[in-house]
Homo-oligomer: 305 residues x 2
């Protein structure tokens, strides 16, 4: 799957990923109203509305980008109907040829991580059949529990030729509280980064590992160090745009081959119609606004090479 992600990046000339993280107040009112009219003020209506909203965006941008990253929390907040919308979104994006990175940040003790890995990347055996739960291409993983909490994900990646991105240095303001603390003269995120490189060593695609890392765009100095510590690791970079990360800061996340990183934007793309620059397209033009925002992001990102 890491090979296919890289292929898609080369084909679209865009090391970017669109975060499909729908909040109810991002959804244009005509879409939400229609769903509420049909299903009342219910979770079902919310699920239907975010799915319709997503579909419009996907149709408008899929040819321009290599991958999407739905954040499962934004679906999980609507309970089962929200997760039905998540699953529909995953399936639809895959149909459209996009690589799907489920931003789920799961991680637990070994046997439990194995269940998450099976639910999101692999399958479960039911009688004589292997059945797939969510079946994303990649997911994000939390490393706090250590190797035996991460290993089951790596095992399923090998088996299914899928991938993970492990949290190393997150984009949020207080990420340093634990991640930056010094241990034997090194910050924790470097130590986690070393583990990530190590976990990925024996499951390599053509040039990069199945095991990637998450490093926030908001900490470019750390990105530079981590790039060196994890030379064969693809880096998923959140925090560009709405969270404050700028294109000029992103160069250190890439390798000299122009690969090695993929930059996420969520709000900046999916909620573009609410920005001054695209407001002229109106609410009904939300998908076109997303398309324009993707084109603008591609231009911005390409300026760093």
């Amino acid at each position: 799957m890491i090979n296919r992600l890289i292929e898609n990046i080369k084909k679209t000339e865009a090391p970017i990923v669109v975060g499909l993280d729908p909040m109810i107040d991002y959804v244009p009112s005509y879409i939400l109203n229609k769903a509420v009219k049909e299903q009342g003020e219910t979770l079902e209506a919310a699920g239907e509305a975010i799915w319709e909203y997503n579909k419009g965006i996907i149709d408008a941008v899929y040819e321009l980008i290599p991958a999407v990253k739905p954040q499962i929390a934004m679906y999980e907040q609507f309970g089962i109907p929200g997760l039905v919308a998540f699953k529909k979104t995953v399936d639809y994006c895959k149909e459209k040829g996009l690589v799907v990175i489920g931003d789920v940040k799961r991680g637990d003790i070994g046997s439990t991580s194995a269940a998450y890995a099976n639910g999101h990347l692999g399958g479960v055996q039911i009688g004589g059949r292997k059945c797939y739960g969510f079946n994303e291409d990649f997911i994000t993983v939390n490393p706090y529990l250590g190797t035996d909490g991460v290993k089951p994900f790596v095992d399923v990646c090998k088996e299914e030729k899928k991938g993970i991105f492990v949290l190393v240095k997150t984009s949020n303001p207080s990420s340093g509280e634990f991640q930056d603390r010094e241990i034997d003269g090194k910050p924790l995120y470097e130590i986690v980064g070393e583990h990530v490189a190590n976990w990925g060593e024996d499951c390599m695609g053509d040039s990069y590992s199945y095991v990637g890392a998450v490093v926030g765009a908001t900490y470019p100095e750390m990105g530079k160090v981590l790039r060196k510590i994890m030379p064969k690791t693809y880096i998923l970079v959140p925090g560009y745009g709405a969270q404050g990360g700028a294109a000029k800061d992103l160069k250190p996340y890439f390798n000299e081959d122009g690969l090695g990183a993929i930059v996420n934007s969520s709000r900046g793309i999916i909620c573009a119609y609410k920005q001054d620059a695209y407001a002229h397209l109106g609410e009904e033009g939300y998908a076109e606004a997303s398309r324009q925002a993707v084109l603008d992001m591609k231009k911005d990102i390409s300026s760093i090479f």
Copy 2:
């Protein structure tokens, strides 16, 4: 909710929680076969089977225990139908008067943690109505992202009078890989423990905080230290039984009031019918075996006071 948890513990005289973590091979074959006969070898059949299996156990044990802890991964592995079974289990346990601890180990950047908090503890506003997704009483939370990743959970706890248990020192073998690393002469888990005590300070129940901690039974020396660092923090203790933690090691997790900790057992209870001690009850007696195992666990745990 922390007050109600403590009330339930006092009423049942049992500082224990049953982990409802169904694996497909725990489910008695007559239950699985019936579901497969009706719905084929599908995720739907698996979801129906684990719900039937859970219901039998809940009916057999609910009067003996204060709380249950369904591990969401074990449901998520079966996709949407698995999560439907999770939701049914949560609702049914609440109907039976049990406190429900959703073992979800979520945690993300602020806005995303807020969505998880709303999905699991609070609700979402859809038009004029507040709708509830999963609506557990407590959930577990991963602290790797720091204060702004945990704070949204605390905020919802205050609003809804619910609770969280934050991972401090987990029960798995490699938990020490990051959690035990020394920072300014102190292991990371102690620093996280200090934060947990701090996060919980301004949301107190009568005697304990809404913000609890997870500390594995498998590390009693660390439990002792953490008990002192977090005197008003309820400690959820996984790792008893199947993972190797013994009753004699659990005393340090409790305060002198006999409160302050609740010990989880999952496999040891729900899969009791496969143990030699209860095998005479047979597969059809799996619920009665769980009941016997709860009674035995209560006796074992009470021996430490």
